[in-house]
């Protein structure tokens, strides 16, 4: 790795950038093998992120290739006959993390899974849309239910960050639940005022 400019163009691209950035922070906290880092990442992001452990291994290899992580074969704790790859920060890791922290996020496109269906739905699709919206609302509730509660006593920086992460997830899911319920209600109200049944055009 010769410069920050090179880092910026190679690793801060694509949809996995947030995970790469978060991995840099975890590496700086302490080195770890892939499984350990994946567990720590899952604990920080929460269950709703649905982190794939394989993604973590893949991203660590990428970071190692770009010089932002150092992969070392080290003996396993408690079994020195066997080894595993432990990832360490490099001299570039801290600066790369700071660069990622100060880089403004690109505005992500709004692409709700149901958006395309809503955009092109025919009147006779209304029943299917309502079922899909109800299922989506429930899925959001299930995700909200997975968010671990706080005890309101966050005093450390780490606890504050964890609480704010949970708050972000909850706020997003609440908005989605409200939207799904509102849309379902609007479709129902429309159907109630139709003189002919929606399926008549089939």
């Amino acid at each position: 790795m010769s410069s920050q400019g090179l880092q910026k163009t190679t690793w801060m691209r694509g949809p996995s950038t947030p995970l790469r950035g978060a991995l840099l922070a975890l590496l700086l906290e302490r080195p770890g093998h892939g499984g350990d880092l994946a567990n720590r990442m899952a604990a920080r992001l929460g269950e709703t992120w649905r982190l794939d452990t394989n993604d973590v291994y893949r991203l660590l290899e990428q970071l190692a290739r770009t010089g932002l992580a150092l992969a070392r074969d080290e003996p396993k704790r408690g079994n020195h006959d066997r080894t595993h790859i432990v990832y360490h920060p490099t001299e570039h890791t801290s600066a790369a993390l700071s660069t990622w922290m100060e880089t403004l996020l690109p505005r992500e496109p709004v692409r709700l899974g149901l958006q395309a269906k809503l955009a092109v739905a025919r009147p006779q699709d209304a029943p299917r849309l309502i079922v899909a919206l109800k299922a989506y609302e429930r899925e959001c509730l299930v995700l909200a239910h997975m968010v671990f509660p706080t005890d309101g006593k966050a005093r450390s920086w780490a606890a504050l960050c964890r609480d704010c992460t949970r708050d972000a997830v909850s706020a997003q899911l609440q908005t989605e639940v409200d939207w799904a319920a509102r849309t379902r209600k609007r479709i129902n109200e429309y159907l109630e005022h139709q003189p002919e049944p929606a399926d008549a055009s089939q």
Binding site: L141, G152, Q174, V177, A181, N188, A198
Partner: protein
């Protein structure tokens, strides 16, 4: 598990001039003993209507609300009042207007007076309840002028002192501080969980309801819940406010 509270195809609404407004449209819900259920919904979604029906403060337009298998509508008003002084505790911050000059301890112990409990015993139990909600330092102070966080704790103490089997709380922690809110809900979950009290609490914030056994949302007169049965919706007749049950919320209702 024993079923404590059941809603069987419950509808409720009100008249707005010539228009009938449906607030709850065919709600099915089962809450088992010892289970906590968080009810999320925006303002006007029907949360308070549902809670008031559960507490027997209002009666459904159609369908049945059962508490421990007994239809609340079949009880006399006096029986329902009696139920709310014992097995069901209903708490709402919004309508909390304690008398001027009343102390926190008097307020909490007042729930026991007239129940064959001596004034001394009532005050001792009130003291214990205030300790449990971590508000014993405010026992001698007046109820008027309490902060929102203090009000929530005193209300919880007043509920606990009557040793209910079902605690119903409507937006129990409306406080500008997220820390106060989360602390209160943690206290609510722990105090009711330790005693096996079923909990039905409504909030406009999903985040406040983390940690509840069942999470449900209410909107457009329908209930949607995290329970698997809540997803069941007939594919062929989804439109309109027909007699179709909307969804089940919690428990084992199919």
């Amino acid at each position: 598990m024993t079923q404590l509270l059941s809603f069987l195809n419950v509808t409720a609404g009100y008249s707005d001039g010539d228009t009938e407004v449906l607030v709850l449209g065919g709600i099915f819900l089962n809450l088992c003993a010892g289970v906590s259920m968080g009810l999320y919904g925006p303002r006007g979604a029907g949360k308070t209507t549902l809670l008031r029906l559960a507490a027997g403060l209002d009666l459904a337009d159609s369908g049945s609300v059962l508490f421990e298998g007994r239809d609340l509508a079949a009880m006399t008003a006096a029986e329902r009042r009696w139920l709310r002084r014992g097995a069901i505790a209903f708490m709402s911050c919004e309508n909390w207007r304690p008398p001027r000059g009343e102390s926190v301890l008097d307020h909490v112990s007042a729930g026991l007076l007239g129940e064959g409990v001596s004034a001394r015993q009532a005050r001792m139990r009130a003291h214990r309840a205030l300790e449990q909600v971590e508000f014993s330092q405010g026992a001698a102070g007046p109820t008027r002028g309490l902060s929102q966080a203090g009000c929530s704790r005193v209300m919880l103490a007043r509920a606990l002192v009557q040793e209910p089997r079902l605690l119903i709380m409507d937006e129990p922690a409306v406080t500008p501080s997220l820390g106060d809110r989360d602390r209160f809900y943690a206290l609510l979950r722990s105090t009711t969980g330790e005693r096996g009290i079923s909990l039905l609490a409504a909030s406009e914030e999903i985040a406040a309801l983390h940690g509840f056994g069942v999470l449900a949302s209410i909107a457009g007169g329908e209930l949607c819940s995290t329970e698997p049965q809540g997803v069941v919706l007939p594919f062929s007749a989804p439109a309109g406010k027909s007699a179709q049950p909307s969804a089940s919320g919690g428990g084992e209702q199919g």
